[in-house]
Structures are given as C-alpha cells and as structure tokens.
Amino acid sequence: MEVQHDERLRETIYWETLPSGLKVGVLPRKGWREATARVAVNYGSNDSVFVPPGASQPVEVPAGIAHFLEHKLFESEEGNAFDRFSALGADANAYTSWQQTVYYFTTTRNFRECLDVLLEMVQTPYFTDETVAKEQGIIGQEIRMYLDHPEWRSRQNLLEAMFQRHPVRIDIAGTEESIRRITKDDLYLCYRTFYHPANMMVFVAGDVDPEAVVAQVAEKVESRGYQPQPPIQRIYPEEPPEVGERRREEELAVSQPIFRLGFKERQVGERGRPLLVRELLTGIVLDAVLGRASPLYNRLYEDGLIDSRFGSDYTGEETWGLTTIAGPTRDPVELEKRLLEGIAEARERGIDPADFERAKKKALGRFLFFMNSTESIAYVVTDGFFKDIGLFDILPTFESLTLEEANERLREHFDPRYAVTSIIWPRGGRK
C-alpha cells in the first residue's frame, strides 16, 4: 500500500491499486462515529460521444444518460439498493457531475455490509423497458423542478452562452425530450463502456482498518474476472477560446434580478499540479479583488448593488473551466458595468501584497475547518482523483504561490473579451 501522510494535518491516506486497475483509498479517522464510502466513476454528462469497447466508430447517446444511469443503477433484479441500505440503517445517495458519477453511503453501523451493497450495486446493471419508463417520469419532474430554480437557470444560461460546442453547455440531467429517447440498450452500452474498475475508484473515510477495507474491495471486485480495458476514447468537439454569446437573459417568477458574470478558461488541457495552481491562484485573485475585505466589494455593497449572498468561484477541469461572479441585485446592468470597471482597474494596478499575504495566512485555518467534515474530505478526494490532484497537495501548493503568479493570472484570465453575462429578470421587470 502507498501511504500518504500529512504531518501538519495529522491525517493519513492509504492507497492500493488492484489487478483490475481499480484504485482504493482509505482515510482512517479514529473516534469518528460515521464512516462513508464512495465509488467514483470517471464518467459524466460530458461523455456522450465515445467509441464503445470493441467498436471502431464513435456513437452518440442522448443527453442526460450518465445521470439516468446513476438513477437506474440503484435497481437490480432482486430489488432496490436503497432498501438494502435502509435495512442496514445507512444513508445512501449518488450524484452526477459533468465528469463524474459518484455513489456513496454514510453509516454509523454495519459498515462492512454496506460496502458490499455499494460494490455489488455498481457492478450489477439491470435495466428493463418498464424501469426505464418509470424513471423517465421521475427525472422529468427533476428537470421541471430546476426550470423553476432561478440560480440553476442562471448558471445553465451562462454555460450555454459561454461554450459554443463543449457538452458542458448541456444540462447534466438532459432535457425532457432527450431522456424520453433513452433505451435500456443505450444504458447497457454506456455501462459497459465506462463502468470498468480501471475507470473507477473507491474512497473510504471513517474509523476503519485500511487493510481490511482493501481486502474486502479486492474480494468483491477481483473475483468477477475483469479483462483489461484499453483507454476509453471520449470524443469532445473542438471548443474555440471565444465565447458563444456575450449575454443571455431570461424572465422568471423571482423577486429581484439575479446576476452572473463568467470568465471563460482558455488554458485548458492541464491536469495535476498546473491545474491545481491555476485553481488556487484564481481563488486568491478573486479574494483580493472581490472578497469581503476588498474596496470593490465594499463600494458595491454600500451602494446597494450586492449583499452577502454575492460570491465568486472558479471551476477548473481538464477540458473546460470558468470563473463565476454572482448574486441577486437590484440593477444587474449597473453591477455588470461596475464589476468590469473594477476588474479592469485591478488588472492595471495589480494585487496589494498585504492582501496576498492575508489570503495565505487564512488558507490554513480554512483548510482545518474543512477537515472537520468527513463528507467534505470525501468529496474533495473523489473530485480531484481523476484530475490527479491529491488532498494533501492543496495546502503546500497554496503556500508555494507567489504574488507575481497571482498578478499574471489576474491579467491573463480576467479578460473582458472572454466574459459572459447571464441575467434572470423578474417577470415584466426587464430594463
């Protein structure tokens, strides 16, 4: 087993690679009542065009299928995995992102039995015409729910406007129309292509014995005799660096406009440390330029254009990325103008060295706070895994960053030519 230890955080992760290619990580936490296990699949809503194993030509499957598959994997011929988790007293769930599908449970008891259920569940697909039809009704309501969700709509509109061809512009759940086209054969095809152990990982955190966990996973998975799988060919359209549309607006039944400004990432194609550096530098820049101590934030706040719900963040993936700056506002047009002016000014002036040092000082405290939650740790480990970013890389990388790098990032990334604005207006309240 590979042992990663962080002396300052006083935490250790044990890693093992099984013959099938499955990676297993365990973070033991003495004295914690709740343990969590996650199975992450390197497969998300972005992967809708691919070459299936043994085939020579790519296929395209309906949008939303990764998420649909996530729902359906809970069912087997014998029944529903939710029932089995319930009978063990565990809390189980799953989610699908643009690049991952993650199945997990948390429990205070019967950890071993729960882990068996989780591993069986992801290895036994069972789809019939009836169960597919039933799920179309349920996911149809899930999609409808988000149509009334202003924050969700605002984000979706931003992605659609920003990206011209990349599938991140398509809703993770698909559309009511696309999910109606999903068949059980499509589901089996996607399952066979992506749910190979070499394309998955298992992570466990809690008061458990790493050796025992690894042995259990090996027993459950390796006995199935998986044949080696060549790398999966995923086909992504070429995304130009330019944004698709400068702005996108929509009216919804909301009390006040919701504003979102995005900057498109143009340095795509990176993984591991360079990707992490870019992510952390963007965070420092956002804090220095738009954080709660910044003059720009306070001017906007005092002028009543933003409130404490205003925030910004950066998402960096291998094939796409963006910064979003968002919040409800009384005047999105004015807010957009002031933000773009403020950012332009900051790009000229650069970051105040004192702000940069403060950002570094608070990083450790914030990281320790985050380590209080086993679930947060599990999320960060699984999210970083296929990008080759480890939990213990984050803090040292952060501490290695320099002011010059931050200024360079500010000037390079926050270029208004690559910005998109998304506005949700109240009904009839458009200016």
């Binding site: 009978a87 063990l88 996911i139 409808r144 709660r292």
Partner: protein, 428 residues
Amino acid sequence: MTETFQQFPLSPGVTLHVLPTEKFKTTSIYVYLHLPLRRETVTWNALLPMVLVRGTASHPTTPDLVRHLDDLYGASLSYDVARRGEVQSLLFRLDLPSEAYLTGAEGLLERGIATLAEVLFRPAMEGDGAGLKADFVRQEKKNLRERIEGLINDKRRYALSRCREIMCAGESYALYHLGKVEDLDGIDPEGLADHWRRVLAEAAVDLFVVGQVDPEAVHRLIARHFDFPGGRDRTLPATTVVREVRERRTVQEAQPVKQGILVVGFRTGTVAGEPDYFPMLVANGVLGAFPHSKLFMNVREKHSLAYYAYSAVESLKGVGFIYAGIEFADYDRALTIALQQLEDLQQGKITEAEMDATVKALVNDALAVPDSPTRMVEEQVAGILGGRVYTTEERVAGYQAVTPEQVAAAARKFQIDTIYFLTREEGE
C-alpha cells in the same frame, strides 16, 4: 460514549456549555439569544445580527473587521436567525483553527472570544452611542427587505412557508422568521440601538464552545469578555401548541411556475418531551422522512409522479408537512395517494421492513450527531427549548423501544389542517 457538555451558569438565564474534544481541528463558539417570536419584534430581531456583524467599535468598517478575522488565521464570523417553535433564536458564531495545529498562535482563542464579544457588546455606533451606525442600518434594511421578498425565489420553501402561514393564521408561529417588509420603514439607528440593549438584557442566552479546550480556562475567558447585563427576567419563551384542527382548508395559489408544489400541513398532537414523542418521530419516519418511507415509495417510486416526496415535523410546535413537486394535472392523484399513505399509517398498515428501516435510520442519525460540532450544539439547543435534553443513548433507546402499535397510535393524532397547492397561472 456520549460527549457531555459541561455547564457553567454565568448569571440567571445565561449559561455556558463547553465540550472539550480533540476530534476537531477547530474551536467553534456559538452564542444563542432566544427571543419570543412576536409580531412587534420579529423584524427588529432579524435585522439586528445583520447590522452587528458589519463592524465593531474597534473595527468600525466591514473591511477592518474582515481583515481582523483573516489575521486570526481565517476565523469565520457568521450569524443565523431561526424559528424554533415560537422562539426566534439569533445565533452569533465564530470558528477558529485550533491552536494545537498552528505555530506561534498562542492566545488565538482569547482573541477570538474577545472579537465575538465585541460584535455583540461594542458595535460600531454614532452620535455618542445614541444610534447604531446609520449606513449599516440603512444598507441592512435594504438587504433584509430583499431577503424577505426573496422567499418567493425558492418555490419549495415558499410553498411550505405559505402553507404554514395559512394553517397557523393567528398564531405567532405563522410569522416568517425574518419578519415583515412593512416594519422596515419604522426602524432607525436609534430605535435599533435601544432594541439591541433590550435584547442583550432580556434574551435567554446559551453559549457553547466546542474544541480542544480546557473548560475552566474557557469559562474564565468567557466570563471576562461576555458581560450580559443582569437584573432582568430572562425566561425562555414558550410555544403554544394547537392540537385540534378547527376546520380543514384547501388553498390553491397561482404563479408562473413550471412545476406544481403540493403541501399538506397537519397537527401532530405531540410535542418534544411528551410520552408519544419517539413514536411520533417514528411515525413521521415511516410516512415520509426517508427514501424508504411510504411517500417516496408510493408517490415517486410506484406512481412516478414526483422527484421528491417527503414529510417533516417540527416537534416544538407540533406541526408537520407533507410535500412533493408534481405535474399540475396530477394534483388529485398525488393528493389521494399521499393521504392514503397517512391513512394506512394510522390504520397500522406498517410493514416490518418499514418499521425496522425507520428505527435504524433515526438511530443512525442520532449516533452521527457527535461527528459535527454544529449538530451537537443544535441538539442541545432543541433540548433546552423543548424542556428536555436527550443524550445520544437516550435517543437511541427511545427509538428502539417504539412498537408499531405506538406508531399507529401517534399517527392517529395527526390531523390534516391545510392542503396547499402552488400551481401555474391560467393560460401559462
């Protein structure tokens, strides 16, 4: 096995609770001010923390205060306004990294405690202490107005809130815990300063500290920095429980929405601390708290009518809500199926699997509480307000002792009060 808080009474109605533990890498300090949820004060109370966290006497602007917190290794200051029964609780909270994980940070805990105390006792003021800083008051009034009006943006919360309002009309429980927009014009910096002094003098106060600390040392630090004025009555506000439904109401409201939200409000007939308390919680569990519950299994899994279908109870007030997001045309069907689940429960149609899974889920939930400082503190607060603090063991034993007959009996006290439907507008 249970982590036990040590209590230190500071003055009548003001109690410090300390939990020393090495489990967490942070120290969390919580100050709860419990106030009665009342029409006259609800908006004033909600506004107060928003203004107080903006700045203090020695950090009189927000950037000053934020920079000060950043220098405390990224300490984070937050607040919350919550309704618990007919109590409006204001929470002021500070999270600090534990000194054990830092080098050269001696005295950090005291600096954190002093900062939180300053937020409460020495706000940024103007006019020789006559009023709170006028800019803060003006800006936060606007922010609070937008928060209150913004309830409509989250359709599920909005529908639940409307159902509560209609069902509990005439009870203070009907009040939205952030208050009413119409009150805001009448609030000025001087009035809010007077209100602030009254709140500090009259609220029942519970302080909690969780982390790698020495309880006696924390007691000394808190006593040194937190000086709540004495001499006033700080009794915990009470909640009036309504057990009988006078008249069942059915209400539909229209908005330009794409999904309908069905909410069924009911009176549970049981509140925390009563003999039926655990059976009532299990009854809600069998009905709709989990993915194995009747509502989820029938409304969603069997009939494919919804993505979510749940129930929740508020055990200090003795009310509960069934809720689901559905197609507009499925209203009658979804309502019939949902009510059938309640009826089946009341008639004792509870399978062994439902009973077993529900008790296990509730036990699992109780056992996980000590993994989170906030959940432990919230559990204490709920217990204090409900008149009885349960230990984890008591909770687990309580759930495990419940029989299916007790569940059905507790469920038979559930009385449907208000059926609410948020639907689309004509012609949409």
